[in-house]
């Protein structure tokens, strides 16, 4: 009986702790998603200002963004814009 009560209370406490842990991690993930969107919008703005990839990387690294993630995002955006222009060209033809 006492063991059952103890087990019940321990599982309640651990359940609440793990639930809080999960919620914190979800908030952390949402924050990171937001930052990724912010990074993409910065890269796009700089691309519109005709900055080279190296210039974009240098500016953003100076602003303490992750260099690897900047390169990945630049690559993704370049590929997407290239695909879009190709698609537009095909449509025109």
């Amino acid at each position: 009986m006492a063991i059952l009560r103890l087990l019940n209370q321990i599982s309640l406490v651990l359940g609440i702790v793990s639930l809080i842990f999960t919620i914190v991690q979800i908030f952390y993930k949402l924050k990171i998603k937001k930052l990724q969107e912010e990074l993409v919008s910065k890269i796009i703005t700089m691309m519109e200002l005709k900055k080279s990839d190296q210039e974009i990387i240098n500016i953003l690294v100076a602003d303490e963004w992750d260099p690897e993630e900047i390169s990945v995002k630049i690559g993704e955006i370049r590929q997407l814009t290239k695909f879009n222009s190709n698609q537009a060209q095909k449509n025109q033809e």
Binding site: M1, L4, N8, S11, K29, L35, E69, V72
Partner: protein, 167 residues
């Protein structure tokens, strides 16, 4: 805050995202396990008659009618527990039938193994001859041996005993 924001900016790589996803999955898994364990232990405790989370209203705040009901309930619970303990100690399922609380009665009937009471009377109210018959009957049923039935003085019980130990 600004420092934390800057720290986060340098940590938004794909591997970090993957790590967070793993942590979320781990958190959800652990939450499910602990919630299941919590519900299971709660359910078992309730079945055992231990009301862990039932709100216990303060006795002094109860109305006279509630007080009477509360005292009666407590008395009944004590009597049930006493019958349960007797049934277990004496191995006589007759006491289980006296238990009012269904969950405890079922538990009692389940826990008193292989004993079939021949009398609905509590053991303390039985005569010497009845006790002897009861003992022989229980022995015959437990051992599956009809020779113990021969010693039973009550004809009705003797026949019942012989019939049940025949196979």
């Amino acid at each position: 805050m600004a420092k934390k924001h800057k720290q986060l900016k340098s940590r938004i790589s794909k591997s970090e995202e993957k790590r967070i996803n793993e942590k979320i999955a781990l958190g959800i898994g652990l939450t499910f396990i602990f919630v299941a364990l919590f519900l299971l232990t709660w359910l078992i405790a309730e079945q055992e008659g231990d009301n862990i989370y039932t709100p216990d209203k303060n006795f002094s705040k109860m109305t006279p009618k509630e007080k009477i009901n509360y005292v009666q309930e407590q008395e009944q619970e004590t009597e049930d527990q006493s019958n349960y303990q007797l049934a277990i100690a004496l191995g006589d399922s007759g006491y289980c039938e006296e238990i009012q609380k269904l969950s405890l009665r079922l538990k009692c009937e389940k826990e008193v193994p292989g004993v079939i009471s021949i009398s609905k009377k509590p053991k303390l109210e039985l005569t010497e001859s009845e006790i002897s018959d009861n003992s022989d009957y229980q022995l015959a049923i437990t051992m599956g041996d009809s020779k113990y039935c021969e010693q039973i003085s009550n004809k009705e019980i003797k026949d019942k005993c012989l019939l049940e130990t025949k196979g």
